[in-house]
């Protein structure tokens, strides 16, 4: 008991060191680029820190960006723990946003009822859209990566049509919906900043997902299926059913992210590019990077999301202050994914070598990443 506890603490300590090391290496590389751009390191670093945390406005910007990053990362983790990899977050965010716009614009209620209902609509939208991929996977054996890839493209077209056709604001020439009523929008937490009350979702949903995965029968079944479908099957658990539920729940979290992106946005009207970041990327993809940096631990998502949000916010401010393209942030985020993957596998190889004299080779076809996950 104590031995396993110690092993777990040591294990998560190694994970923590790995994540911190990856983040540091990526940031050092970023500094290198800053120098190449002809900006001195102190000037670049201070421009970044001021851009992310320098004032009430920028801190609010950073925190508000944490919301979609955290929720998408948690969505990835839920599916990942069940052994399901899908990349449908951008599409689920969009469909969540679409459902949100229906309830926000077609129903009028007092804020106490309207806002929660609208948020729930977003959750339902994301879940329903993920449900298509889950159903195709469970009933027709369609690889969920391929199906969500296609569904992302469909969702983008769906929303492009939505804001030009049925929900177009006829008084505006641009493809926008009419402004959503304030009864459906998250109230501002700090006035005149991008920070809205939806920030409370970050700790609450993180805690819920952590509880769900580590303290409930569903979480146990999910982790068992993720560890090995055959074992789970012999234990009387249906990997298909658990996998479906995990994909749908994952989509629900992405839909929640979509609802926040619409209902806590600075502009009251909804455009077609919900989920697009300030750079050229999408929260639906950067959220995956957050989850990886957090080593798929729900609690680890908080610091990882804060780092990514600060990068987003600081990077976009830096573009104005010292003239470094905010694309650098996308590069650093992608680099972190690549580094985490590489470091994880190298760690796995090292661990296996250390254990190989005690245990034999482990027969499993799963990826190295999943294997460290099981042993951790």
């Amino acid at each position: 008991m104590i031995a396993t506890l110690r092993a777990r603490i040591v294990g998560s300590g190694v994970d923590l060191i790995l994540s911190v090391a990856v983040a540091l290496v990526a940031l050092l590389i970023a500094l290198l680029f800053v120098v190449v751009s002809g900006v001195s390191i102190p000037r670049g670093a201070s421009a970044f820190v001021t851009g992310a945390f320098g004032s009430k406005l920028t801190i609010a910007g950073t925190l508000s960006k944490m919301v979609p990053l955290t929720l998408v990362a948690l969505g990835w983790i839920v599916a990942f723990k069940a052994g399901r990899f899908h990349i449908g977050f951008p599409g689920q965010i969009l469909v969540g946003a679409l459902f949100v716009s229906v309830l926000a614009l077609k129903v009028s209620l007092p804020i106490g009822i309207h806002l929660p209902l609208t948020v729930l609509a977003g959750v339902a939208g994301g879940a329903a859209f993920a449900g298509i991929a889950a159903w195709l996977w469970a009933r027709h054996g369609v690889n969920e990566v391929l199906s969500t890839l296609l569904l992302n493209l469909v969702a983008a077209q769906l929303l492009a049509w939505w804001v030009r056709g049925p929900f177009h604001d006829s008084s505006s020439p641009s493809p926008l919906t009419p402004p959503l009523p304030s009864s459906a929008r998250w109230p501002e937490l700090l006035t005149h900043t991008p920070l809205h009350w939806d920030i409370v979702l970050v700790p609450v949903v993180t805690a819920l997902v952590w509880l769900l995965l580590s303290r409930t029968p569903f979480g146990f079944r999910t982790r068992l299926v993720g560890a090995g479908e055959e074992i789970a099957w012999h234990a009387g658990i249906s990997p298909t059913r658990v996998g479906m539920k995990a994909i749908v729940l994952s989509g629900a979290l992405a839909g929640l992210a979509g609802s926040s992106l619409v209902l806590a946005a600075v502009a009251p009207a909804m455009a077609e590019n919900v989920g697009a970041t300030a750079g050229s990327s999408n929260y639906g993809f950067t959220g995956i990077a957050v989850a990886l940096l957090a080593r798929n631990s729900p609690l680890g998502v908080l610091p990882a999301a804060l780092l990514f949000a600060a990068l987003e916010q600081g990077g976009s401010v830096m573009e104005g202050t010292v003239g470094i393209s905010s694309s650098l942030v996308d590069f650093i985020q992608g680099l972190m994914i690549v580094l985490v993957l590489a470091a994880t596998t190298l760690l796995y190889f090292a661990r296996r070598r250390a254990h190989s004299h005690r245990r034999g080779p482990q027969g499993s076809r799963r990826t190295a990443m999943a294997q460290t996950e099981i042993s951790a």
Binding site: F33, V36, S37, F85, I87, L136, H140, V142, N143, V145, L146, S147, L149, L150, L151, N152, L153, V154, Q157, L158, A160, W161, R164, G165, G279, S280, S281, F285, T286, I288, A289, L292, I324, S325, S327, L328, V329, D330, F331, I332, Q333, G334, L335, M336, I337, V338, L341, A342, T344, T345, L346, P361, Q362, G363, S364, R365, T367, A368, M369, A370
Partner: protein, 371 residues
Amino acid sequence: MSHVALAAIGIGPFDTDWLSAVLVLTTPLLLAGVGELISERAGVLNVGIEGFMLAGAFCSFFVAWKAHSLALGLLAGAGGGLLFAAVMAVLSVELRADQIVAGVGINLAVAGLTGYVFVEIFGNLPQVVLPSAGALRIPGLARIPDFGPALFDHNWTVYFAFLLVPICSFLLFRTKWGMAIRSVGELPIASDTVGISVRKVRWMSVLACGALTGFAGANLAVVQVGAFEQEMTAGRGFLALVAVIFGRWRPLGVLGACIALGGTEALELRLAAHHNVAAAVWGAATVIAAALAVYWVLRTRRGKSHGRSATVAALVAVAGVALTVVEPRVHLPNQFWISLPYLVALAVLAGAVTRGRMPDKLTQNYARGEG
């Protein structure tokens, strides 16, 4: 009414200009699609293909601008794709990291890197536009009235892309290399047993995919547009992925899928001008459905397929004939036509026949002794 007006100024949905546009728009998809096909046949799903393409586009543009040479630019484009394919190969083949996550990471990194470097180098310059790439008129054929100039008066990369399909088909199904590639994607442990190096074959396939995809990006930047913009591939890499699924992992299928996707793209602008769906579009849909029905009926005869898909396609064809004749006054939004290929690809993916065609070990990394 509007249909008549448009016909009067000569913009029908289908004409020789459209045909010419289809060839041009299909080219990058086809180059990338064939590359992805090779890689997927070897069991590596390259979601990072969008990134390879963007890297190819940037490298080709930069070199073509610096060296004043389109040929060097095209070469550099292939090199750019190759570089990031090597990253993908290290991650997926050597480190056995998850292929999908690796691809997502590469896409993000390349989008950021090209955007950053582009702003650093060209941010303060006036917009650079490269001289347009020359066309290679095929003697004789290009003189055919109407169709000749539309089909046989293009840059050489266009012909190259279409020639690549039979070459790839020959390579995959008639050579030892192709056998090795396919076996590694189906049952790597067996390939390993007979002395084929799974590592080497997968490395080669991923690199081939990178080079072809980079070349596709180069075609887009240097030949088609003559300039570079941030994110200029705009999802074309993902479309190539769709084409491979749609084409059921076969060279000819990929060709058909790429033409369908390129054709829709070319049709898009023309259809936006119409208020109603033109009879010609219903007619074209009918012809495609009828062709599919005939194809499936023939396959059913040979006992290779179930009759259900043929029945469905036949019903669609009948409905198409009805719609062509009646020409109802409905306006289907542009976005519907764009997403139609994706929906069809989803349906194709859900079909049992397709799943049988998917390389068995797609996305699964191979480790010796853990097979």
